[in-house]
Symmetry: C2
Subunit: 337 residues, 2 copies
């Protein structure tokens, strides 16, 4: 099952060495965040980690309670020109089309197969749901896992023509590894599909499947020829976005994070839940996409990763806002867009 990953890029060397340090329980040597410029943002991160990990500090937090939650789309990997999972679904529609001649005359499939993505998605959720159902259900959990592994190991980003797993932010990979090396348990808490992320998050972020929280569909257990299977049903079970994020965190982790990292209004309630609960140790961070040259610049008006209310709420709540253009020395492991 892991063969599809043979083609994935190696982790940036700094990340690999930080992870080894964590595994060996050695202190982190040198600069754990070399892809971050020496701005106030980096200083705020370092100061927080120092406060919660130093024995005797009034904000010291025992390791078991050092929970850090990361949004995925737009926080750990790119989400432009549209969510990778949506691009996956569109690819799957094309792959499945020969078995569905009826799609040639049924929307949103007909527009999609003519190459008119914008037209296909014009109906918003009403257009997207049939596409999700057609591509994410009707198979077992193991079959879907393999479909995702095959796709993520081969599909290329429409703008950069890189693997999607290369479209990850090097500074954030360093931050995830630094927190882990500092005794944190790192979780993904994403609006993306939980089973779409799990096949590759351990390899790419060092975050194992059991630390991934996401949206999910309903499942049905059955014995097929004496073999147990989980059949994926065309029905949403849970949307891990907005107010769903604190609920997903409570259900999966059962502890309030002390640090949360996001980039859009979908992360607002996770940031509130993490930082406004009265606990002394807390850290909220928003990745603001300000670099139209090396990545994409977008916020309040964007249909993908809209950042408006959470940006307004940041100053009063003491959330750190990353200015990608000025705070990040590099963007992607391969360079920039």
């Amino acid at each position: 099952m892991l063969s599809a990953f043979a083609t994935l890029p190696a982790l940036p060397s700094v990340l690999a060495s930080t992870q080894m340090a964590a595994a060996d329980d050695l202190p982190v040597r040198g600069d754990p965040l070399p892809s971050w410029n020496d701005t106030q943002t980096k200083k705020a991160i370092m100061a927080f980690v120092d406060r919660v990990t130093k024995q005797g500090s009034p904000e010291f937090v025992p390791e078991v309670e050092r929970i850090a939650t990361f949004d995925n789309d737009g926080t750990l990997w790119a989400e432009q020109p549209m969510y990778s999972q949506l691009l996956f679904a569109l690819d799957r529609v094309k792959a499945l089309a020969p078995k569905h001649p009826e799609w040639r005359t049924h929307e949103p499939f007909a527009s999609l197969l003519r190459g008119d993505v914008r037209g296909a998605l014009a109906g918003g959720e009403k257009s997207i749901m049939p596409i999700v159902a057609a591509t994410h259900s009707g198979m077992t959990s193991e079959e879907f896992d393999q479909i995702v592994r095959d796709w993520i190991g081969a599909a290329k980003h429409p703008v950069t023509h890189r693997l999607y797993t290369e479209m990850v932010y090097e500074p954030m990979l360093e931050l995830v590894a630094f927190l882990r090396a500092s005794g944190f348990k790192t979780f993904i808490v994403s609006g993306g599909g939980i089973d779409f992320m799990r096949p590759w998050t351990e390899r790419v972020y060092g975050i194992p499947p059991e630390n991934v929280v996401g949206s999910s569909g309903k499942l049905k257990f059955e014995l097929r020829d004496g073999k147990p299977a989980l059949l994926r049903l065309p029905e949403i079970d849970f949307i891990d976005d907005g107010p769903g994020k604190p609920i997903g965190i409570n259900e999966h982790i059962g502890r309030r994070p002390i640090a949360a990292f996001g980039n859009s209004d979908g992360d607002l309630q996770m940031l509130q839940w993490t930082t406004m609960g009265g606990n002394p140790a807390r850290f909220g961070l928003i990745v603001h996409h300000t670099d139209g040259e090396r990545e994409w610049a977008y916020d309040r008006k964007s249909s993908v990763g809209k950042l408006d209310k959470a940006l307004d709420a940041a100053p009063a709540n003491g959330w750190t806002v990353v200015d990608m253009k000025n705070d990040w020395k590099s963007i992607f492991p391969f360079g920039s867009k």
Copy 2:
């Protein structure tokens, strides 16, 4: 919040020492399962752990994939004369009764408050659901957490008059600790309420909140006077029992366990999911309650923890069946019933 635990009994010393060994990454010294008699059952457990942890063994499993799932009621702690969580709910009804004068004339509350537990529960699920709703919803997640901590720190078992957290099986505590010391990740997968277990499983079993899978109710995120809260709604979200267990495992862990431990038909599908998937490394175990003197003897006819189909399925699937009377040297940390 941890003050309620000051009254909890210390872990059995053997468990504490095994856990320290795990934390220090030392090999386990001596017999890791001293409360188990030297029967075939113990040999089967030891042989399985040996096969999956020995480098070069055809069944070797990397540490990240060593997932072990444990049912709770009847597998890790006692479930007779009825589920502890139900006894918790009945205690809560009595505590809340002064604020609910209408309960004096409304069933199932009226019977319950007259001391007629059997009468109150005669309606089965129809009787239990209003009791669960009245006692498990209408407060925030933090308020419920405190209610559970207060109860579990003080309430006594109706037969043994011991704390419920003392009603745990010493041989199973050793087994959980032994697996963890052997590089396993240990999870609870129980029909019990996820938020009823999490306040005490780390202290009692060494299993942290994020490794607890259970049944849950719906939650609602809201800001109360500017403070974020999760309100518990009187609506079931997920029943982690029977076919729900593989689904709960998939949702929370995202990997198939290589070992599963249960005691009733509610664990049948978890055992199937764990052992019948074609993976070479697999272990299924059923705790059969055969000791009416030191604990309780029950199986096919019991209304609590009924063991019938799973017992029939054990031989063909190679599941190990614990004969409590003959396989266990001791039952509870304090002795026996």
